[in-house]
C-alpha cells in the first residue's frame, strides 16, 4: 500500500468517526445507526448489572442494544452533547476517539434517579471501520463512578 493510499484510508476512517459524533451531537440516533454495518457490534464496557446469578453487560448489536441505549440516554439527558478531543486512526480501520460527553439529567438513567444534575465526562470510543466506510464495531470506556458522583448518586451498584 502506498503512503498516499494509507493516508486516504486513515483520513476516511477519521471522517466516518467525525460523522458519527456529529450525528450523536445532533441526537440523530437513526443517523448514527445508518453509519454502521448491519451486524455492527456494540459494547459499553462500564455497563455492568450484577445480579444474583449473573452479570448483565451492555454488549450486543448496534441495531438492538446500541440503539436502545442511545435512545434511553437521550431521554434521560435531553441536552446531551459531545466534544471530540482527538481521533487516532490507522490504515486498517481502527479508531480511538477521545470524546467528552455532557448533559443535564431530566429523568432516571439506569439505577440513577434524576436530581437535575449536570455531568461532563471524558469517554474513549474504539471503532472499527470497514472498506465500505461502515462502522463494524463500537466499544466505549468511561468512568461510571465519576458520572454517578456528578449526578449525586453514591451507591456502587
Amino acid at each position: 500500500m502506498t503512503l498516499a493510499g494509507s493516508e486516504r484510508t486513515s483520513t476516511r476512517t477519521a471522517q466516518v468517526t467525525t460523522a458519527f459524533f456529529d450525528a450523536y451531537r445532533r441526537q440523530d440516533v437513526e443517523g448514527m445507526v445508518e453509519l454502521c454495518a448491519d451486524n455492527a457490534t456494540f459494547e459499553y464496557i462500564p455497563f455492568e448489572m450484577w445480579g444474583r446469578q449473573r452479570v448483565m453487560r451492555g454488549a450486543g448489536k448496534v441495531g438492538a442494544i446500541g440503539k436502545a441505549m442511545w435512545i434511553g440516554q437521550l431521554e434521560a439527558f435531553p441536552d446531551l452533547t459531545n466534544t471530540v478531543r482527538s481521533i487516532t486512526a490507522d490504515e486498517d480501520g481502527n479508531v480511538a476517539a477521545q470524546v467528552v460527553l455532557a448533559g443535564t439529567q431530566a429523568s432516571a438513567w439506569g439505577t440513577i434517579a434524576s436530581r437535575g444534575q449536570t455531568f461532563s465526562e471524558p469517554n474513549l470510543f474504539l471503532l472499527e471501520v470497514n472498506d465500505e466506510g461502515q462502522i463494524t464495531s463500537i466499544t466505549a470506556y468511561w468512568d461510571c463512578a465519576s458520572v454517578a458522583r456528578q449526578l449525586g448518586h453514591f451507591e456502587v451498584d
Binding site: 494509507s6 487516532t88 486498517d92 481502527n94 480511538a96 470506556y141 463512578a145
Partner: protein
C-alpha cells in the same frame, strides 16, 4: 517516522510491565511526558504515572496486564485495550485490603515521538474496580 518505529516504545513499556518492571517501562518515558489517568483525576508528568504503576504492583503483587488488542495510529499513538488482573495484597487507592481478585478493562494511549513516549493517557471505569474490591459507596471507599 514510521508506524513500526513509533510502536516500539509502547512495546517496551508493556513488555516491561508484563514483568512488573516499572523502571524498564519508564526507561522510554522522559520525566516531562504528559500523564493523564482519567479515572483518578491525575494530570501530571511521568513521576505521577510511575507512582501509579508502583502503587498498583505493591497492592497487587501478582498483577498482570493482558493486552487484547493494540494498534498504532498515523499520529504515533499506540492504543492498547487490556485487562488488568490481580489479587489485592495491600490497600489501594484508599480501599482496604480484602484479598479480592480484580479484572478491570482498560484502554491506554501512548504517544511516541523519536523513540520516546511523550504522553500516557488511561481510561477505565472506577466503579468496575470498586465492585470487585467490595466497595459499597463512592463517598466511603475505605468503609467496606
Amino acid at each position: 517516522m514510521t508506524v513500526s518505529s513509533e510502536r516500539r516504545p509502547a512495546a517496551v513499556f508493556w513488555s516491561s510491565l508484563a514483568e512488573r518492571d516499572v523502571d524498564g517501562a519508564f526507561s522510554v518515558v522522559p520525566d516531562d511526558a504528559e500523564v493523564n489517568i482519567v479515572p483518578l483525576g491525575i494530570l501530571g508528568a511521568a513521576p505521577e504515572g510511575r507512582k501509579f504503576f508502583v502503587d498498583t504492583i505493591e497492592a497487587f503483587p501478582d498483577v498482570e496486564f493482558f493486552v487484547r488488542k493494540s494498534f498504532t495510529g498515523d499520529d504515533g499513538v499506540t492504543v492498547s485495550e487490556l485487562s488488568m488482573e490481580g489479587t489485592q495484597a495491600g490497600d489501594y487507592l484508599g480501599v482496604v485490603n480484602q484479598e479480592k481478585h480484580i479484572d478491570v478493562d482498560q484502554v491506554w494511549l501512548l504517544k511516541s515521538e523519536h523513540g520516546r513516549i511523550t504522553s500516557i493517557t488511561g481510561y477505565w471505569c472506577q466503579n468496575q474496580l470498586y465492585r470487585r474490591l467490595a466497595v459499597k459507596r463512592l463517598d466511603q471507599v475505605a468503609i467496606i
